[in-house]
Assembly symmetry: C2
Homo-oligomer: 223 residues x 2
Amino acid sequence: MDYIFLSKTKLFNEITENEIKVILNCLKSYTKKYDKGDLIYKQGEIISSIGIILLGSINIENDDIWGNKNILENISMGNIFGETYACIENEEIMVNVVAAEPCEILFINIDKVLRTCSNACKFHIQLIKNLLSLTSQKNISLTRKIFHTSPKSIRGRILSYLSYQAILKGNTEFEIPFNRQQLADYLSVDRSALSNELSKMEKDGIILYNKNKFKIINLNIFS
Amino acid sequence: MDYIFLSKTKLFNEITENEIKVILNCLKSYTKKYDKGDLIYKQGEIISSIGIILLGSINIENDDIWGNKNILENISMGNIFGETYACIENEEIMVNVVAAEPCEILFINIDKVLRTCSNACKFHIQLIKNLLSLTSQKNISLTRKIFHTSPKSIRGRILSYLSYQAILKGNTEFEIPFNRQQLADYLSVDRSALSNELSKMEKDGIILYNKNKFKIINLNIFS
DNA sequence: AAAAGTATGTTGTTATAACAACAAAGGAGT
DNA sequence: ACTCCTTTGTTGTTATAACAACATACTTTT
């Protein structure tokens, strides 16, 4: 186990490598490998472990009753997933967790962290604090997705998403972590309509793009 | 201060009335009253206090760059708001918090809870645990809104929302906490289009409704 | 290098939502 | 009961997104 890597993750923020070693042992954690497309957590399951991505990345997806796939989030190496459901008892997970590429996951039973946390155990308290911070941040990323999908027009959604990416990267030229289909799913629009709108926006001189590289030319927010 | 009321809230779960009294004093909490429509937290502010609603209810809203108002959530008596931003340092709040009716709010500085939490203080640990649970639950309610707004058709969104409400209330007949405009905002659709679609659904024999009372007759999920 | 597979772009048609403008119903206050 | 005001429903028009089907890259495999 790469404790140095783990000590740099947000989950183990302010926890030393040796302390991590103790925690992982005490909480009976284990690792598992997955291939691209493998289902890690299935909609409807009751889970009590969080996952830390040691290698690769995963997608949080929802398949609605009509079969439309909706990508809520892509989570990469060093980050965690499942904490929302693991922190609430008997709450069915409403999403699918799917390996976006070959990956390796470390699972930690969070029930134990929450139930056995006593004043005596300093690591546990820090772990809970870190979880709180992470959950809050996930909260914000969900709020952000809601922002990007609340404009009624496709152009509005694209502008919302791209302008946020530009701010995030601190540059009007940037790469996005989605391909067209994934971006369409994220914004809840049809892929071909998205492609179509992107090329219209290029014609209108608002953006330049090639694959997942974008450049914002003139963000006319009133158009 | 009504400590009995507070001891029944989720935030003070497993904390006694006397302990609450100590905490509130120690954390320099204070209360404030608002009229309907008053702005409690404004988009862009850096906040470090969470609010507990002692009386009334509040709306979490977003006004986008084109002036569309988007209601993310309605939060009622005994529940908290602002914890997402208060738990992360220097994170601007991206929403407006508005009094949905006359209300009274108890503010608690969360910075102090997180920073001064030591092994010696048992209440603080419990408070953080409770916050973690609440944040996780808020997370789920955001995910739920994403579900309700991800179908591409208005009917799909209405069905998603109403069928969830029916499950929540455990009855095919129920009241919803929104008026038409608020529901339209929540589902990110035009109000008149929503009214129109609702009456079509009634004609199609799927639902019956009057104002905010609904009855699901025949949830044909494949239509 | 050819073949197969995947991702992206393009176009035309159809379905649907937004919008605007108005009508009707329901409350609140005088 | 009348007026004012707010909420909800209705209709027709216009704008836009979904959808389908195909074309054109670009990748990966053999």
